[in-house]
């Protein structure tokens, strides 16, 4: 079973975001980088499939040369090899990104049985690249998967909706997008990190094209401080909170 997982290098921002002076990007001088949360689950799923069924796990990303850092750290989890489509660091629009990924997938000597994406990127959240790739490769696609297994050339998936679970399946080769909660991603082992240094990261170049969804600038969403009423410190403040909860009808 040959699996491909597509990743995206994103800044690790948990607190307030700061923009660059030209307002076109997030200021990342003081931020580390990682991959989107759902993508950690995608890599874990790929590693587990190869452990169970044999085969290879390839990682693919489109991004600046620094994205090699994210590929290496995920190679340490247990992927076989990685491919980096190198850009000039500018953000590509979804159509441009999808067509460069399709080109790289078609050019690869490995014919992937299953391609896995994270359900959404942490930063741009365009909700479309995986679907464009499914159309270009003429493969079935199941999105937002929370539970999966591969058997007899079929991928069985469940997705969670507000009132329950939905069960889907698709014949391989197929594409799925997965969500956090699918599995618990493992941490890289020390031997894993050592091996990752020796594994191959193939670098390809791709021509950017004029974006049809063209980012003009970014701004911070207004978030005004609600001005919390501090009821006090420690257990002394409990009676005040009880009054508040009573007044809003919590009990």
């Amino acid at each position: 079973m040959d699996v491909l997982v597509c990743l995206k290098r994103v800044p690790l921002a948990g607190g307030a975001l700061i923009l660059t002076p030209d307002s076109r990007d997030i200021e990342t001088k003081h931020l580390g980088f990682g991959i989107s949360p759902h993508e950690e689950n995608a890599v874990e799923a790929g590693v587990q499939l190869v452990e169970q069924m044999g085969g290879t796990l390839t990682l693919l990303t489109l991004g600046p040369s620094d994205a090699e850092e994210q590929l290496r750290s995920q190679l340490a989890i247990g992927a076989t090899r990685a491919v980096l489509i190198e850009t000039d660091g500018q953000e590509w629009d979804p159509q441009g990104t999808a067509s460069a990924l399709v080109e790289a997938i078609n050019a690869d000597a490995t014919k992937f049985d299953l391609i896995i994406f994270g359900a959404e990127s942490a930063d741009s959240a365009g909700y479309q690249i995986h679907i464009r790739i499914a159309h270009a490769l003429n493969r079935p696609i199941i999105t937002n998967v929370k539970s999966m297994r591969v058997e007899n050339g079929v991928v069985n998936c469940e997705r969670v909706v507000s009132d329950g679970r939905e069960h889907y399946e698709a014949p391989l080769p197929a594409i799925i997008t997965v969500r956090d909660g699918l599995n618990i991603p493992r941490y890289p082992s020390v031997p894993g990190r050592m091996q990752a240094r020796k594994k191959t990261v193939e670098v390809k170049q791709a021509e950017s094209r004029l974006p049809k969804l063209e980012k003009v600038k970014l701004s911070l969403a207004p978030s005004k401080d609600k001005g919390a009423e501090i009821l006090g410190k420690g257990t002394d403040a409990v009676p005040a909170l009880v009054e508040v909860l009573k007044s809003i009808g919590a009990f």
């Binding site: 921002a13 948990g14 307030a16 975001l17 949360p37 979804p94 159509q95 942490a122 930063d123 959240a125 365009g126 909700y127 479309q128 679907i131 464009r132 159309h135 079935p140 199941i142 937002n144 469940e158 969670v160 507000s162 009132d163 329950g164 679970r165 889907y168 399946e169 698709a170 956090d180 004029l210 049809k212 969804l213 063209e214 980012k215 003009v216 600038k217 970014l218 701004s219 911070l220 969403a221 401080d225 609600k226 919390a228 009423e229 501090i230 009821l231 006090g232 410190k233 420690g234 257990t235 403040a237 409990v238 009676p239 909170l241 009880v242 508040v244 909860l245 009573k246 809003i248 919590a250």
Partner: protein, 319 residues
Amino acid sequence: MILVLIDHDRGEIDSLSLRALTAARGLGQDIEAVVIGSQGAALAGLIGEFGAKVLHVAQHDLITDYTPMASGRALKDLVEKLSPAAVLAAGTPRGNEQLAHLAAFLDVPMAAECLEIALGHPHQVLRARWAGNLIESANVHEELLIATVNNFSFEAISVSGAAATVAVFTPALEPQDYVVKILSRGSAQTKAGVTLNDAKVIVSGGRGVGGADGFGNLEDLAALLGGAVGCSRVVTSSGWRPHAEQVGQTGTKVAPDLYIAAGISGAMQHIAGMKNSKTIVVINTDPEAPILRYADYAIIGDLHQIIPALTSAIRQAKG
């Protein structure tokens, strides 16, 4: 004309589609709507109230439930027939997915999660990114605008219009369009009791709870208030609580009457999932915790003392 996809689950409308209809009315053109699957035809009255003149119904023997690629094909057939200026849908997983299939079939751009839309050459949109923390101003260079609408930016406002005229059409499906479909359904994998989605009260714990055992106190308080236990991402990735309880961008987005955040500092991904709660109470040792910006009330202190004291005080007050 603006075409709006009205999403429904076997005939039951996703009410967020009404917000997309309201957003569409702001563009100053006639509004027509489309439902995928004949069970949606019964929505013509409701859709009319919100301003759609025509309800197109994609009818096909193979479309009896959610089949996203077939939805994309049906939308493509309709767009080619009607040439709308824009196609809109709610910014939900299903809305985004079905319009992405349409955009892929036509090989045109799609702008997801739009807060504002202005038609033109190019079209101009504001769209939400980073779990709603950033707003992108973008140009869309394409005659047809395909966009989903950010649900928090629009209320559903009725114009008391007459029922929409129903126009049935049969999309020309290809075999690959219905390979992926729902084969069966199951109930949610949660314990007996209230789920995060219906809970009026959520008692949520983060890193400050310190371990799986610490959640016992939160469970007691939640049970007393008839609510559910929630948690932050670090809690599920540490294996302290099941993922079904995770609140936030990658878990469940909630908006209960009361959200008690104990030992949660407030990463923006968590905030994105709970900031619309009616009343937010924070219990935290750190008076500088980012989550305080979103709180209505706060106690600075150790949740391990405060939560049990709160539980017994409420028990006493209840008598």
